[in-house]
């Protein structure tokens, strides 16, 4: 009897040990997020809250302690332009493609589109940059480094995200809604656009938001396309600045003022991305709840 009790106690103890160890892994896993937030807040907070930070051009390197840190205006502007172009293309291509994949699911092409979107989502983002760069070197070298190619490279990253999330959102719309509309004699295209898409809209917008935020943080595909710049937007066929590129270029700068600006840009970028993510998660969960309640 005693032996069995001991064995049981040992098993329980081991189980508790595992629980404690797995709890510790949570701390290890979350530590980088906390550290990144803390470091960017302490090292970049001061510059970010200067009035000129979002409007001024980035500083030249200077090693005098009193030199000005100024701002990241062109990078903010450039990032907005790039995600505008990229997001616009991703919307125009991704949402219709997802409608096809979801609403004409029985056809082979529909399945091929979902599969391709999955494949594209797995392609490293730098390959998208190489693809756009090489394409333009071959066919139109005059705009290889421009807002156009930068936007295209970002759209190649965003399209699969938009397709997948839109498709998922369309799947959450109960079939009874489609059938009810069709039974009333409403044509398929009206049913899809006015009823199914509208019902799925929060999910679709969430997907677009996630895709845009992903694009806003990407540096690799912009290295050979948007290529970065220290001045404000000149036109669609000129090089353009972007926040991630600015962080990359200033990260290893020997000048402390440029490093400080990079930390400020980091704090700005990460705050926007985290807020957008939390917001979109909230929207998604609300929509799922509404849908399952309605069905």
């Amino acid at each position: 009897m005693k032996l069995r009790f001991d064995r049981h106690a040992r098993r329980k103890l081991f189980s508790h040990g595992i629980t404690v160890a797995s709890g510790l892994t949570i701390l290890a896993v979350l530590y980088p997020l906390a550290s990144i937030l803390y470091e960017s807040a302490t090292r970049g907070g001061r510059v970010l809250f200067q009035l000129t930070f979002v409007t001024a051009v980035p500083p030249n390197g200077c090693s005098i302690i009193a030199c000005k840190t100024v701002g990241v205006g062109p990078a903010i502007q450039g990032t907005l332009i790039l995600i505008g172009i990229g997001g616009g293309i991703a919307l125009l291509v991704g949402i219709p493609a997802a409608i096809f994949a979801s609403e004409y699911r029985t056809r082979g092409l529909g399945r091929a589109i979902s599969f391709t979107a999955d494949v594209l989502a797995g392609i490293p983002s730098i390959i998208m940059g190489v693809f756009i760069y090489s394409y333009f070197v071959l066919y139109d070298p005059t705009i290889t480094f421009s807002a156009i190619t930068g936007g295209l490279a970002l759209s190649a990253i965003m399209i699969p995200i938009v397709v997948r999330t839109t498709e998922e959102a369309l799947h959450t719309v109960p079939n009874s809604m489609r059938e009810a509309a069709l039974a009333l004699g409403i044509s398929k295209w009206r049913t899809t656009l006015r009823i199914v898409l509208v019902a799925a809209l929060p999910g679709v917008l969430t997907g677009v938001l996630l895709a845009v935020m992903r694009g806003a943080g990407e540096a690799a595909p912009l290295l050979f396309t948007a290529a970065g710049s220290n001045i404000f937007f000149q036109g669609l066929n000129y090089r353009v600045a972007a926040l991630p590129l600015l962080i990359y270029n200033f990260a290893e700068s020997p000048y402390s003022n440029q490093v400080q600006v990079a930390w400020g840009a980091t704090l700005l970028l990460i705050s926007l991305i985290l807020i957008a993510n939390v917001f979109s998660r909230y929207m998604l969960s609300r929509m799922v709840r509404k849908m399952s309640g309605g069905a």
Partner: protein
């Protein structure tokens, strides 16, 4: 259910015809967008293959076996970068998988209910942090810590293994691998959590009713059930690690040679592209870089396809058992 007009054709042919052409137009328009998505995939493959032809002509299969990457002599082999990619991703898995599994197990089996949502969300937020920010953090926070604390300790305790030769300088293969581990943990953790949650409650309760402790329930009833989903998540994480660019480029040291120890500098295929595509010395190097990119594309496609198949299968099994 695919037919938009349920009425038989003889009853109302007129309205049927009126309703049909806008439907057809709509079908064609969304179809064009769908075909564009597929065309994008083929265009990427086509361009990469087209641009790597000169390198393929010059080196043939020797490109895959040569360890020399020398722009001065126009000799290019991809081995250093494939090695760098596989070593960093492999170490990232060694570090990341236990952490990811531990966190997923904790969230699904041990964490109090109020903790599950916020902790799960926080782990997923880690996946949203841009790569360049991980790299920046790596340079200023992780790298000094690795150089002053982790690497000297590894050298004194595990130096006999030969893995930790040379001077610990911080900007090296090991630091890049640690950054990659941090970046892939959220992916693996999220997928593992999903598949563990898909284990039927009856399965858990059966083990518990036989007197199994928490850990025994997890080990006997849950992990085997969720196994292929977890493996799928690990492969998805691997796919992310293989193609990760900015964070690796900023921490690995960028040396075009096979690393001789974990404290040596190296280069992955992705960091090679980031560093040398615009600084190529001539068309042959450009083409060789594109061929390396093609190899990276092939590796990540194979890895991701494998993960998809596994995750899909699990999601299907989970879905059916819930219904």
């Amino acid at each position: 259910m695919s037919s938009p007009t349920p009425s038989s054709p003889s009853s109302a042919p007129k309205t049927g015809r009126v309703a049909r052409w806008p439907d057809l137009l709509f079908f064609v328009l969304v179809g064009i967008a769908g075909v564009a998505v597929i065309a994008l995939a083929f265009a990427i493959l086509g361009i990469l293959i087209h641009e790597s032809i000169p390198s393929f002509r010059a080196f043939g299969p020797g490109f895959l076996t040569s360890t020399v990457w020398n722009p001065n002599t126009n000799q290019f082999g991809v081995v250093p970068f494939v090695a760098g990619t596989l070593i960093t991703s492999g170490i990232a898995l060694l570090i990341g998988v236990p952490l990811a599994l531990g966190s997923a197990i904790f969230i699904t089996t041990a964490a109090p209910r109020w903790m599950r949502g916020p902790v799960g969300t926080a782990i997923e937020l880690l996946a949203a942090v841009p790569s360049v920010i991980y790299g920046f953090w790596g340079i200023y926070v992780l790298e000094p810590y690795m150089r002053t604390t982790v690497e000297p300790n590894l050298k004194t305790t595990l130096g006999w293994t030969g893995l930790f030769g040379g001077t610990p300088i911080g900007t090296d293969v090991l630091t890049a691998s640690v950054i990659l581990a941090v970046m892939i943990v959220p992916t693996i953790s999220a997928v593992s959590r999903e598949t563990l949650l898909a284990v039927p409650t009856a399965q858990r309760e059966a083990a518990q009713s036989l007197g199994a402790t928490n850990w025994e329930t997890t080990r006997v009833a849950m992990l085997p059930y969720a196994r292929s989903g977890i493996i799928g998540g690990i492969i998805l994480g691997l796919g992310r690690a293989l193609g990760e660019t900015m964070a690796v480029t900023m921490t690995i040291g960028n040396k075009d040679a096979v690393p001789t120890s974990l404290f040596d500098q190296g280069q992955t295929i992705a960091s090679l592209i980031a560093n040398e595509l615009l600084n190529n010395t001539g068309p042959l190097q450009y083409s060789a870089i594109l061929e390396a990119g093609l190899i990276l594309l092939a590796i990540s496609l194979i890895v991701n396809a494998g993960a998809r198949v596994l995750v899909w299968r699990v999601m299907k099994v989970g879905g059916q058992s819930v219904e």
